[in-house]
Symmetry: C2
Subunit: 152 residues, 2 copies
DNA sequence: TTCTTGAGTTCCTTGAAGAGACTCCATGAC
DNA sequence: GTCATGGAGTCTCTTCAAGGAACTCAAGAA
């Protein structure tokens, strides 16, 4: 349904939601990220209905976020992140960082992230690609871009 | 419905989805961010049904992401981002950045972001809070955190 | 040959989203 | 005082998506 629900909106947020905005899609991506690549693994881990899992996987493959790779001569496939999909997982890390900060409660975060480059437990931080200073929603002005006035 | 759908999962991504994972919620937040603060404005801009808009706003207020502020003696309210909500908008900026990169097409991005600190058109970049180097999904190991083994 | 296993399909029921009319209530116009 | 207005919702009905569970299909194992 949601396939073209938001996409007409000339808004990159809406367009992104057309790719991973449907229920379960972000969690499917997370699972693939941590190495759960197969249909039955995903179905068992998420407790999602097989029908919906099929639909979501097909959509994510169509969108170029996952690829379906045979791993056996039998009809056996597994799902892998594409480059496009890997960058979506960056988004999931930011989502996790927000959840860690605001929803983790007493127990603390369920998952820690160790950064390869420095070897430390860390978290992701948003910075300006131009000047390197922190960049948050309150630190920017929004201007119409070249793709602003899409008509039709 | 989705209110506690994913939240039991001891996963900050799932918990975050319980807050803004429902259809329309991210777009409602975006609209409030850019200054559309009132019920009828939101309803007209999004084309969402009034019933669903009511449900979403209530949920976002319950979650502490928006606050409902009277702006007149009459029963007139507007919705504002809380600090918690403003940090969610950071997530939307990352979402927009992904959409700009992968879905904008020929026309280019519909919106540009000018960073206050440097005055330049820029985009958000993910860096390690510890060492300041780029931090992407492929650059981290995941380890169980203190809140990992939530039972019940 | 039959069994098993991964990867889906199909069908039926339940529950959420959409559309749009209706309500409530304080104010300003008359 | 009465009426009209406009923002902010509620109510109801229909449509469409999600859940659950049984069924199918292909190929290698016993």
């Amino acid at each position: 349904m949601q396939r073209t629900k938001f996409g007409e909106m000339a808004c990159s947020i809406a367009r992104t939601l057309d790719v991973i905005g449907e229920p379960w899609s972000p969690l499917i991506l997370r699972d693939v990220w941590v190495g759960m690549n197969r249909f039955d693994q995903l179905q068992a881990d998420l407790g999602i209905s097989r029908k919906v899992l099929t639909e979501r996987l097909n959509h994510l493959v169509e969108q170029g976020v996952l690829e379906r790779v045979p791993y056996d001569k039998r009809p056996r496939y597994e799902y892998r992140l594409t480059a496009k999909g890997a960058e979506l997982v960056d988004l999931l890390m930011v989502m996790a960082a927000w959840g860690d900060r605001w929803l983790a409660g007493e127990a603390g975060p369920p998952v820690l992230y160790r950064h390869h480059a420095c070897g430390e437990i860390s978290r992701v931080d948003l910075r300006c690609a131009h000047c390197g200073e922190p960049m948050h929603a309150g630190d920017v002005d929004l201007l119409p871009g070249p793709g602003a006035a899409v008509s039709g």
